[in-house]
């Protein structure tokens, strides 16, 4: 009997040990991350890795509200020229360095002064940083700017160990040290990035995984095959065309969130000599193209209805979307009438440059066939993305099929693109009224008041149409059924708090 009990006890112990075995989460990414230094980083997949590696001052909810992460409270002063934050106590970086106001100040300084930094423009309105106490800090701004808070919910707000950063300099990315739930273990370029759970994480109770491995697998079919064969637990960006098959096969759940970004057609209005063309000179032609294409048709034909039709820089699901200007129905007659009014009763041709990727090509072919019914002869010039970007910024184009990955604050999706001299204003568009409205929107902290300003700008832009917005991508994150607790966010990031994996 004793022997039996002992055996049973041993068996039970064994079972418990089995249940507690190391939980490794394997995530398939659509491409390989670039350098793992938040200040030098520039890729979307890099940000996915940082989400597990580096905590930010603030985070967002799926509804885009700003919530505490390393900062617990914050407030702007009355004229929005200073942002004061209270910081979380008891946080340490992966190297054991304490997190405090001093560390934040050094982080902001690095983001602003490191020559390789890609964060300069995001933090350009921060004039100085004042350490008010161990856990109290104030950002003094050069001008009223409420958009700075949302910048701190992304890479510019990621806190890295200042000591490690000083020591490593520009090589920090080879061995990043942050304060997130997981710490860096190893990276083999184009193969994998491995992180392990950080025992001293301030929110460790919410972390139920021992390690995370990110594997870049660019081919959508192969990425999905890996999920189906059980080699991966989660995959980034499931192909929209695979959605139906995945849903009917079972064993895999798809979590969706409409992205913050958009895809559209940017016209050259006044960027160099090539802006002087009928399409650049007459907004009626641009509006005609807008009427000739059915956004819903594009979504159905190219993306199996998985994405979201759109006509503004913000998706219809965004709190910043202007419901007064809904996505227009396709109206070929109205498009023809506009062409006639503009002096082209027999139609007109339009050369559009497109990145030579299957999805973009397919999109433009659908646009082409719809536009032709209205008398617009769309000529597609496919270019490799790097080349297209170069031609676009140099003004060597008539129209360009291009998109934007999207920012949390509405300002990031619109200001740089349409204000006079904006860094991303490849259209060369300029309107005093739009400039005034968008600049003012930066200074107002009340959301309703801000939205009214964006709505007014939107009304003008919808007439002038320097950018014809077409659709908003949906992040399709596919998960093995063994994964629970995953929530999809509009920024496409994979937050691992609360995510569990049951051994299948």
């Amino acid at each position: 009997m004793t022997l039996f009990r002992l055996t049973l006890g041993a068996a039970l112990l064994g079972a418990t040990a089995l249940g507690a075995q190391a939980q490794d989460l394997r995530i398939g990414l659509a491409s390989d991350a670039d350098v793992l230094d938040p200040d030098q980083s520039r890729t979307f997949v890099g940000r996915i890795v940082y989400t597990a590696l580096c905590d930010k001052l603030v985070d967002i909810t799926p509804e885009l509200e700003i919530v505490p992460q390393l900062a617990t409270e914050w407030s702007f002063n009355d004229d929005n020229t200073a942002l004061t934050m209270t910081l979380r106590e008891g946080v340490t970086f992966h190297d054991g360095t304490a997190f405090n106001a001093e560390a934040v100040a050094r982080n902001i300084e690095r983001s602003q002064t490191l020559e390789e930094s890609r964060r300069k423009s995001e933090l350009s309105s921060i004039d100085s940083v004042e350490v008010l106490g161990d856990y109290e800090i104030r950002f003094n701004l050069t001008q009223p700017d409420v958009t700075v808070l949302a910048q701190l919910a992304d890479r510019a707000g990621m806190m890295i160990s200042p000591d490690a950063a000083d020591e490593a300099g520009t090589d920090f990315g080879l061995n990043p040290v942050c304060s997130g739930p997981f710490k860096f273990e190893e990276r083999v370029a184009q193969d994998r990035i491995t992180l392990s759970a950080f025992a001293d994480y301030w929110n460790a109770d919410e972390i139920h995984l021992d390690s995370v491995t990110y594997l870049p697998i660019p081919d959508t079919t192969v990425r999905l095959a890996n999920l189906q064969s059980g080699d991966l637990d989660i995959i980034d960006r499931l192909g929209a065309t695979d959605l139906e098959q995945v849903r009917s096969a079972g064993g895999i759940t798809v979590e969706e969130a409409v992205s913050l970004g958009y895809q559209g057609i940017t016209f050259n209005i006044d960027n160099g000599d090539r802006g002087d063309n009928p399409w650049g000179n007459d907004a009626r032609l641009r509006r005609a193209l807008g009427l000739a294409v059915g956004r819903d048709i594009i979504n159905q034909v190219v993306f199996n209805g998985a994405f979201r039709a759109g006509n503004q820089p913000f998706p219809p699901s965004s709190p910043w979307y202007d419901a007064e200007i809904p996505v227009p129905e396709r109206d070929v007659e109205a498009a023809r009438a506009l062409l006639e009014e503009a002096g082209y009763p027999d139609g007109i041709s339009l050369e559009v440059q497109v990145p030579n990727r299957p999805e973009n090509m397919q999109l433009m072919q659908v646009v082409q066939s719809m536009a032709s019914e209205a008398g617009i002869d769309v000529q597609i010039t496919s270019k490799e993305f790097a080349t297209m970007l170069q031609d676009q910024s140099a003004g060597d184009f008539t129209a360009s099929q291009v998109g934007w990955s999207g920012r949390i604050d509405p300002d990031g999706n619109i200001h740089g693109f349409v204000t006079t001299g904006g860094g991303l204003n490849d259209a060369g568009y300029s309107s005093d009224e739009v400039d005034r409205l968008l600049n003012e929107a930066r200074t107002v902290s009340d959301d309703a008041e801000r939205k009214a300003l964006y709505d007014q700008a939107q009304a003008i832009l919808n007439e002038d149409m320097p950018i014809l917005y077409l659709y908003h991508q949906t992040w399709l994150t596919a998960l093995d059924d063994a994964i629970e607790g995953f929530v999809a966010y509009p920024d496409g990031m994979m937050r691992l708090e609360g995510v569990t994996k049951t051994e299948g």
């Binding site: 520039r42 990315g173 080879l174 370029a189 081919d219 192969v222 095959a225 080699d231």
Partner: protein, 313 residues
């Protein structure tokens, strides 16, 4: 023998210089600005100017080339514009992966191609010969990417026998490493097997009709001995040369195969580097590949001499 190798090595030097100049120039003529791609979505003009200066892209192209050669001679191939990792380290990391893939693919190619070639030569005009030819032809004409995806869907998704993609270092877990590599190696090997089979067949056919094979048969040797010892041994010389030449094809094939199966090897490194305009990485890989190609050919020539006593003088 030694002077022969030395002579060949000397000839190799100008070849390598020419190749590196050619690739350097070609890259510079590619449209698309690497710095614009690197600067990030915001394209801050200050950052762009700084990066251009940092990577010396403002220098005249000949000067850029000379700077690169100088550093390369000192053993520094620069750093990747994308990940900041040293190019030499990246190459060192990827080379074993592709060598393993190429070796396994070559084994597949030889195991399938050579016996099939011998068999179809010996059984010339029979069903076996035709069957082998049909298979060889399909091996050559089935596109790698199609075969790859089909195998993944069948063996990984449907039957769950093999991992769909990826790589495990041989030293970490030999069994798993081979399992992961079987599919890509097979896909890469099939096309080569077809080429090998056809060449083995024709080499064997010409040898089988020669006088000494008739003599061997007349001496009453077993057919097996005649074919393997007398005929095949002599047919081997062109096959060895071919195998060495196939090395280039193997690397070229690896580019596509590694892309399909996400094998983090040389081929994938170069494709990604070209698309990202990661100049230093492209240049480094081309240099190493060119050297590798020359060395392989040198080894083939040396093996030639060893296999054929008539060339030893």
């Amino acid at each position: 023998m030694l002077s022969f190798i030395l002579r060949r090595l000397l000839i190799a030097i100008p070849t390598i210089i020419l190749i590196s100049i050619f690739v350097f120039a070609l890259q510079k003529f590619l449209p698309g600005d690497p710095i614009l791609a690197m600067a990030g979505e915001e394209r801050d003009p200050e950052t762009i100017a700084f990066l251009r200066e940092k990577y010396r892209l403002n220098d005249p192209i000949p000067l850029q080339y000379l700077t690169w050669v100088g550093n390369a001679l000192a053993g520094d191939l620069g750093i990747s514009l994308r990940t900041n990792q040293p190019v030499l380290e990246l190459i060192g990391e990827k080379l074993p992966v592709t060598i393993q893939l190429a070796t396994m693919a070559m084994i597949f190619a030889m195991v399938i191609g050579i016996p099939a070639g011998i068999l179809s030569a010996v059984r010339k005009g029979t069903v076996i010969d035709y069957a082998a030819n049909v298979i060889a032809l399909s091996g050559l004409s089935i596109p790698n990417f199609w075969l790859g995806i089909m195998l993944i869907l069948l063996l990984s998704v449907k039957l769950q026998l093999l991992p769909a993609s990826g790589y495990v270092p041989f030293a970490d877990d030999p069994l798993r490493s081979i399992q992961v590599m079987v599919m890509p190696a097979f896909v890469l090997g099939t096309a080569l097997a077809a080429t090998l089979m056809r060449h083995t067949r024709s080499a064997m056919l010409s040898v089988l009709t020669s006088d000494y094979v008739r003599t061997a048969r007349a001496k009453g040797l077993s057919e097996r001995r005649v074919i393997l010892k007398h005929a095949f041994r002599n047919a081997l010389t062109p096959i060895v040369t071919l195998s060495a030449l196939l090395f280039g094809e193997l690397i070229a094939g690896a580019v596509l195969t590694e892309q399909i199966f996400t094998v983090p090897g040389f081929g994938k490194l170069i494709v990604d580097a070209v698309f990202n305009r990661d100049y230093a990485v492209v240049q480094g890989i081309v240099l190493v590949t060119a050297v590798g190609f020359i060395v392989m050919n040198l080894l083939a020539d040396a093996a030639y001499v060893l296999l054929n006593p008539r060339l030893r003088s």
